[in-house]
């Protein structure tokens, strides 16, 4: 069962990623990316992380991608990218292709040498449930949690400062 779900979610997620990159319209790219994120939530669910899976749908699909679609709507730019200038100039393509191919070759060699690694053992009781994650978030990782809240605060202030005209800002 886990095997079938993994191959299903994994294949669909890679498909979603490739379609995101190859589509001409930014809106269709965004919809394919949403599809890929929903598949990622499935992957998290298979990996005994139900809370992370739910947050993936809520935060990524529900908030971030809606923000993207909203901005695409607001910009009212051309619906399709210019076909001639949509992609990088052709002479630069080998330089783009070398790093991914090199990484794939390295990963393939690594797997051939060391073999696959199993997960082994079972997970503790309540692993990945909201209660377990909350206990870590507000216990062992409290400092990181507080720091991330500062990151979000700075992001809010920064977005406000960029979006507003300079003379209308409260500290001017």
């Amino acid at each position: 069962m886990e095997t079938i779900l993994f191959w299903l979610c994994g294949a669909l997620m890679v498909l979603g990623g490739v379609m995101t990159v190859t589509q001409r319209s930014a809106v269709i790219s965004a919809v394919w990316l949403i599809f890929a994120f929903v598949c990622a939530a499935g992957i998290f669910a298979i990996l005994d992380a139900p809370f992370v899976a739910i947050m993936q749908v809520l935060v990524y699909v529900g908030a971030i991608m809606v923000l993207f679609l909203f901005v695409i709507m607001m910009l009212q730019g051309p619906v399709l990218d210019n076909e001639k200038r949509r992609l990088l100039k052709l002479p630069l393509w080998p330089a783009v292709a070398i790093p991914p191919v090199a990484v794939l070759v390295l990963v393939g060699g690594w797997i051939r040498r060391t073999g696959t690694r199993d997960f082994g053992g079972t997970v503790p009781e309540g692993f990945g449930q909201p209660a377990a994650v909350a206990e870590l978030l507000l216990g062992r990782y409290l400092l990181a949690f507080e720091l991330v809240s500062i990151v979000l605060l700075v992001a809010i202030v920064g977005a406000l400062a960029i979006g507003k005209e300079a003379r209308k800002l409260p500290w001017k």
């Binding site: 886990e2 990996l47 992370v52 990524y60 990088l88 949690f145 979000l152 977005a159």
Partner: protein, 101 residues
């Protein structure tokens, strides 16, 4: 064939490389930002897979941190894009090279 840790790592690698290639190849700044989100998502899969390997929830916590970073990045990036579009009427990165010339 049983699904092992390696399968998840290879899946994450493929997604990361897709996002990376897309970021470099596409010229539409909004799509480039979406490719960054795809790369962050690939990283999340690695976090969760290793969390499952060690039976330790720390990876889940850092996935949540990663969500916050992704949200901040999207908010700032899109705010900058809206401002650029307001001034230059384009989000094509080939048109935005005032500093280069």
């Amino acid at each position: 064939m049983e699904v092992t840790l390696t399968h998840y790592l290879v899946l994450a690698t493929l997604l990361f490389l897709t996002g990376m290639t897309g970021f470099v190849v596409r010229r539409n700044a909004i799509v480039m930002l979406m490719c960054v989100e795809l790369m962050l998502c690939a990283v999340n899969i690695v976090f969760v897979a290793f969390s499952r390997l060690h039976g330790d929830g720390g990876g889940h916590v850092f996935v949540l941190m990663n969500f916050a970073v992704a949200a901040a990045e999207a908010a700032i990036g899109l705010a900058i894009l809206v401002e650029i579009f307001r001034r230059r009427r384009t989000v094509d990165v080939d048109d935005l090279k005032a500093l280069m010339e």
